[in-house]
């Protein structure tokens, strides 16, 4: 699976076996362009906006959104990457490994932070991300952009920008990359 090849640590949770293709490369590109326009509209421009991708799945989407924003508004938006492993609430109950080191290029105090992730599921990753973000300054506001919202929230968290709502069952898995979105299962072994 392409998403696991860049990992520094061995994939936990098994290997993704795709079953159905839900979005293709062009669908993802169109969704990102629309989300970029929504970000500009909601914030009346890009003054003080910082994109922060969640390691590792959200990082390519943060870069792609930043490229779209530059095309629309002709300014460069700072892009960071955040690993939330150290802030998760399930460290002792399942294997959790950091995907890559965090890198936040600017002090977030007073900025508008747009958290970017590939898939929104239980909301626990976003909760951990909100905690982790606070280490880098007091952001004026934090917004959430996800390519796919698959439902099954366990916490009161909602996205501000959504590429596609895709209802799923709990035991299915989704793989979202810039190349497309596939539904399938994780196979352990």
């Amino acid at each position: 699976v392409a998403a696991s090849e860049g990992r520094r640590t061995r994939p936990l949770g098994g290997v993704f076996h795709p079953r159905t293709r839900l979005l293709d490369h062009d669908d993802v590109g169109r969704a990102l362009r629309r989300m970029a326009h929504e970000i500009v509209e909601r914030n009346s421009g890009l003054e003080g906006v910082v994109l922060v991708g969640l390691q590792r799945g959200g990082v390519p989407f943060a870069s792609a959104l930043a490229a779209n924003l530059t095309e629309i508004e002709h300014v460069d938006v700072p892009v960071g990457a955040l690993d939330v492993a150290f802030y998760r609430d399930d460290v002792a109950t399942r294997p959790v490994l950091p995907e890559a080191a965090t890198s936040i290029p600017v002090d977030l105090s007073g900025r508008t932070v747009v958290l970017v992730d590939d898939v929104l599921f239980t909301g626990r990753t976003v909760r951990a991300a909100l905690h982790a973000l606070s280490e880098f300054g007091r952001a004026a506001r934090v917004q959430l952009a996800v390519l796919v919202d698959r439902g099954h929230r366990e916490l009161p968290i909602r996205p501000d920008y959504v590429g596609k709502n895709l209802p799923t069952s709990r035991d299915e898995s989704l793989l979202a990359t810039l190349d497309g979105v596939e539904l399938g299962e994780m196979v352990v072994g």
């Binding site: 520094r8 640590t9 061995r10 150290f86 002792a92 294997p95 959790v96 599921f121």
Partner: protein
């Protein structure tokens, strides 16, 4: 025992329990903690509510401080048994001490002991807690060897102009490591040989005959008879301390003679390639195993080893307390 590819949920008693992949996992997780250590508030909530207890039957202030700093940066509670003032002095057995400390809530025991194998014995007595070996007799000092490997990987990657993060074991392929000094009494040397060879480096030992282990010819290493001849080829020089408290003093005629044959003097340092890095586990005896000016040179990693030691020990505490590897749950 087959070396494991992960330290998750395991005790850390010896480097030999880890495969190359297992060692690389520690180095990569430590990179993420090195970033935490560079923050203005170098603290994460990861191990909130966990208790890390140091149990040092042989005093080592710097190693204990490094573990305790690592535990605090992970938001763990730290307890520390000052053996010199404890019931151990009243004749309490090691087993009773361990059971007491575990009953007081320890989730990890950091054990240093002058007897080789003591941490492994402790690991059999505990019911639930994880055990980390912080140095046992002449046997092993696994966390030191892992932080040495981390420091070498960072410095060599930097010199070659790429990031160490995500570089796996690539910088160790064919890397020449020269370990100099009291190998016989050194647990650091034993752990380093295991770590560097597992990662793919070529290790050479150089020591006075009386300070080489008796079974050194069975180790996966070369032996250099003359230090001067080995210096020009090596990429890493790992210096060891003369363990006078473990009897190495009686194995060399005088410290001055040791310096004359095996000290890294200014003259010898000039024989090194310009990019060769020097490590020392500390505390160092300036003027004995290393000249003062050499210890302060740019290519000596000694202070960076101390800094990296905290990040590597954070990674080790994080991994040994990690969830059961069998409880796999698909990541969202």
């Amino acid at each position: 025992m087959t070396p494991a590819d992960s330290l998750l949920g395991q005790d850390l008693l010896s480097v030999s329990q880890l495969s190359k992949e297992g060692i690389v996992e520690v180095l990569e997780v430590a990179e993420a903690f090195a970033e935490v250590s560079r923050r203005s508030v170098p603290k994460v909530p990861t191990l909130r509510g966990k208790q890390v207890t140091t149990l040092f039957f042989e005093e080592s202030t710097r190693t204990r401080l490094s573990f305790e700093t690592a535990a605090r940066r992970l938001s763990a509670d730290v307890a520390s048994l000052a053996v010199a003032q404890s019931s151990v002095q009243k004749g309490e057995s090691l087993r009773d001490t361990v059971e007491t400390v575990e009953a007081l809530g320890a989730d990890v025991l950091i054990v240093r002991h002058r007897a080789s194998g003591a941490p492994a014995q402790v690991a059999q007595w505990v019911r639930r807690a994880r055990v980390v070996n912080a140095g046992d007799g002449w046997h092993e000092h696994p966390t030191q060897a892992l932080l040495d490997a981390f420091s070498v990987r960072a410095a060599v990657s930097d010199a070659r102009g790429h990031s160490s993060e995500g570089s796996g074991a690539s910088v160790f392929e064919g890397l020449r490591v020269l370990i100099v000094g009291d190998v016989r009494h050194s647990r650091v040397a034993r752990s380093e040989v295991l770590a560097y060879t597992a990662l793919g480096a070529r290790v050479t030992l150089c020591a006075p005959g009386s300070l080489l282990p008796r079974d050194a010819q069975d180790w996966p290493v070369d032996i250099a008879p003359v230090l001067d001849d080995a210096l020009g080829e090596t990429d890493v020089v790992s210096l060891l301390r003369l363990q006078t408290e473990r009897g190495s003093g009686s194995h060399v005629p005088t410290l001055a003679e040791y310096t004359a044959t095996h000290g890294l003097t200014e003259r010898r340092a000039a024989l090194l390639k310009p990019d060769t890095v020097i490590t020392h586990p500390g505390p160092m005896a300036r003027g004995v195993e290393i000249a003062s000016s050499v210890a302060d040179a740019q290519n000596a990693l000694i202070v960076r080893q101390v800094e990296n030691g905290v990040a590597v020990r954070m990674a080790i505490l994080f991994l040994v307390l990690g969830g059961e590897p069998t409880l796999l749950e698909p990541a969202p």
